[in-house]
């Protein structure tokens, strides 16, 4: 029931009354409707309150609350030793977060925008990802790197990118991306509780998307994928903001007589293939949609693995719908660059034509 309710996406901004609907339990007060950014804020607040070794670091995350206001009010509540407005230097932020973790802290770093993570790329890939291996297990690095990512906000260069493949390609990192407020609330807490470094990709286009957050009932484990809409003809798979688009495509397909199942990957590394393979074995067809360029992307990896593990179940090649292999274009062109429901349905039609 939960999955189907969330499957309705941003159009289903449900208001408090929704808590009375199916799926609501007796502990109604725990369920609250809020935008995804507010759910992250609540999750961060819960993590800060639960463990005094947790601290937040980033640019403008104090009085301003971050450029997306995800940390709004947290410095006032927990003080400037728990919520740090750092100097403006991404490598410095991640590098000192590593040192803080060595000193027993659990730093949660905010990178302001996807394209600004690259000054920290060296510290993330050569240090953060490899320290536990280098230390042969003597050091755990519970560091979370939060990165708002993806397009749809009409912004300038470096503000709309999807850099996930750089991180999924790096052993030692875990990479996750929530697509709903409830997942955002729980996954940020689970990421902070993880003893491994976690790249936490926030679909910035969905920061304002409202949904129910159930603070009393834990979501799925951090690294689980989830079937969010049931269907029988084609399996649509994606992550982050693209899950909403997949659900729109599935709704449109249904009106044309095609039944699409939708899987939210949630965890980009490791990938939980169970629900994906389960779905593909029933539908025989799969389309992966992502904003990132398709060449050597997460969609490529999942497609290859599904073809290896479910080859005899497939009625058609696994298809990918991706951003083009260009730099993210000027915003006036993002509507053509980013996959939308129509491009996903074009792929669905191709898959069904086999």
């Amino acid at each position: 029931m939960t999955a189907l309710r969330q499957a309705q996406g941003p159009g289903a901004a449900q208001g408090p009354g929704a808590a009375q609907g199916p799926g609501a339990t007796a502990s109604v007060p725990a369920v609250e409707t809020m935008p995804l950014s507010r759910a992250l804020n609540a999750g961060l607040r819960a993590a800060l309150a639960a463990n005094d070794r947790v601290l937040l670091m980033g640019e403008d995350i104090g009085p301003l609350g971050g450029v997306f206001r995800v940390t709004e009010g947290l410095q006032a509540e927990f003080g400037d030793r728990r919520v740090l407005d750092t100097p403006l230097a991404e490598s410095g932020i991640v590098g000192t977060a590593i040192g803080l973790a060595m000193a027993g802290f659990r730093p949660v770093v905010e990178i302001q925008f996807d394209g600004f993570v690259f000054p920290a790329f060296d510290q993330i890939t050569t240090q953060l990802a490899k320290q536990t291996y280098r230390h042969e297990g003597a050091l755990q690095l519970p560091v979370v790197i939060r990165i708002p990512y993806g397009g749809h906000i009409g912004a300038v260069e470096h503000h709309q990118e999807s850099p996930e493949a750089y991180f999924t390609h790096t052993a030692g990192l875990r990479v996750v991306s929530p697509s709903t407020p409830n997942d955002a609330y729980w996954m940020i807490q689970d990421a902070i509780a993880s003893n491994d470094p976690v790249i936490f990709l926030e679909p910035k286009a969905k920061y304002w998307m409202k949904g129910e957050v159930d603070a009393a009932a834990r979501a799925l484990p951090l690294h689980a994928s989830r079937i969010v809409r049931r269907g029988t003809d084609v399996t649509l798979v994606g992550h982050g903001a693209m899950v909403t688009t997949l659900l729109q495509a599935a709704a449109l397909a249904e009106s044309e007589g095609t039944s699409c199942e939708v899987v939210d990957v949630r965890s980009l590394s490791p990938v939980d293939y169970g629900p994906i393979l389960d779905s593909v074995r029933r539908t025989g067809r799969m389309v992966y949609a992502q904003e990132a360029p398709g060449f050597t992307s997460l969609g490529s990896e999942v497609a290859a693995t599904v073809m290896e593990k479910a080859f005899y179940a497939l009625e058609a090649p696994v298809l990918r719908v991706s951003g083009f292999d260009t730099p993210f274009p000027p915003a006036k062109l993002e509507g053509s660059y980013l996959p939308d429901a129509d491009r996903i349905l074009e792929a669905v039609d191709r898959a069904l034509a086999y």
Binding site: T86, V94, G95, T96, Q123, T126, E136
Partner: protein, 375 residues
């Protein structure tokens, strides 16, 4: 060197005579406080590690190690700074601080295990026997940020600046003239200053970043950069173990007491190659090498100790210990075993990871398939 000499702290001259520079005046009381045993200990540290260093170079030449980065010539800067610290202090080396790690308790063979292809780390920094010595870092300058973050942790936890020198902790991080050009070093100094970390940035200027001279890294003395970050910065003769000790001692004491970060530039010289893969004859003159050989830190300290009346027995004893350490290292290195194939999958993550475990299992079954074929 003339501009570098300005403000330079030096206590003993290249010929071993006591000849303090004007800048050394504030440090002389600390030097005077060193008794004969302490002075001889500094010499012993330097002499033993040079024997180890020569042994390691030989082991590489004999195919026992893939690579060796010698510390030859930089012993005084390293011994002085390491001996100036307290047990509770934290060390973040680069990858040439062999005597620093040994002084803190790390087994030198653990360094050789890295160079023999057996580990990327070598020791556990959190095991008390290793004296809070963090691992070597090969990406130049990266460790300066880790040290600064660690120092921020000390500040946040109130582990410095309480006024109790027995309890307060400091951090010392090592890097070189080449690494000084890395952005991470800049960012580390910015963060250190912002958060007033109890930290000493210890720059060994050994004049060469592999083949590129320090003049390419900076047109002004590197220690002058400290001022730009708002931290005291002291140039010291890094081939003078007494000056290196005294300057480090003051900087660490001040940092530990809550004075914020400090920088030290130790002027020294990499008398050997950058690593055993390097060929210094391609980029520097033998005249230059000879001029620095005359400033050898160990010969200098030996002359100073002889002037103070150190006995032949002492030097013979140090020589015997050096030979014994070198021999012990050789024996234990060539006896090092290999690695289980499975070990590459260990500790990629702290918590279980399905992909790693799947590949571990696959490799095991792949290997087992050959055994089945053979049987």
């Amino acid at each position: 060197m003339s501009s570098d000499e300005q403000g330079l702290v030096r206590v003993i001259a290249a010929d071993g005579s006591l000849a303090p520079t004007p800048a050394a005046e504030p440090y002389l009381a600390i030097v005077d406080g060193l008794d004969d045993a302490a002075l001889e200990g500094l010499y012993r540290d330097m002499a033993v590690i040079r024997a180890f260093d020569v042994q390691a170079t030989n082991l590489q030449r004999q195919g026992q190690l893939a690579l060796w980065p010698p510390s030859f010539g930089q012993e005084a800067a390293q011994v002085g700074s390491a001996r100036a610290a307290r047990p509770q202090d934290h060390f973040f080396p680069s990858y040439r601080e062999h005597v620093v790690t040994r002084i803190r308790g790390v087994d030198p063979v653990d360094i050789l295990r890295i160079m023999r292809g057996l580990t990327h780390g070598g020791w556990n920094p959190f095991d008390p026997k290793n004296g809070n010595t963090h691992l070597y870092t090969l990406v130049l300058g990266s460790q300066t940020l880790h040290a600064t973050g660690f120092g921020m942790g000390l500040v946040f936890d109130g582990r410095c600046g309480t006024g109790d020198p027995e309890r307060d902790e400091a951090v010392i991080v090592y890097y070189g003239d080449g690494a000084s050009s890395q952005g991470d070093v800049h960012e580390a100094m910015v963060f250190a200053s912002s958060y007033q970390t109890p930290e000493v940035f210890f720059l060994q200027n050994n004049q060469w970043a592999i083949s590129v001279p320090v003049s390419t890294q900076s047109r002004s003395p590197l220690h002058k950069r400290g001022e730009g970050y708002g931290m005291p910065s002291i140039p010291v003769d890094g081939n003078d173990v007494l000056a290196s000790y005294a300057v480090s001692r003051v900087a660490l004491d001040e940092a530990r007491a809550g004075g914020g970060p400090r920088a030290i530039e130790a002027m020294t010289y990499r008398m050997g190659a950058h690593t055993t893969s390097d060929d210094p004859t391609k980029y520097r003159t033998s005249d230059e090498e000879e001029s620095w050989r005359r400033r050898d830190p160990i010969a200098r300290m030996k002359a100073y100790l002889l002037g103070r009346g150190a006995s032949d027995t002492f030097f013979a004893d140090v020589e015997a210990e050096s030979a014994a350490v070198a021999e012990d290292v050789r024996v234990r290195t060539v006896e090092l075993g290999g690695l289980e194939r499975d070990a590459m999958f260990d500790h990629v993550y702290s918590e279980p990871h399905p992909l790693v475990e799947e590949q571990r299992a696959w490799l095991a079954s792949y290997e087992a398939s050959f055994e089945e074929e053979a049987s």
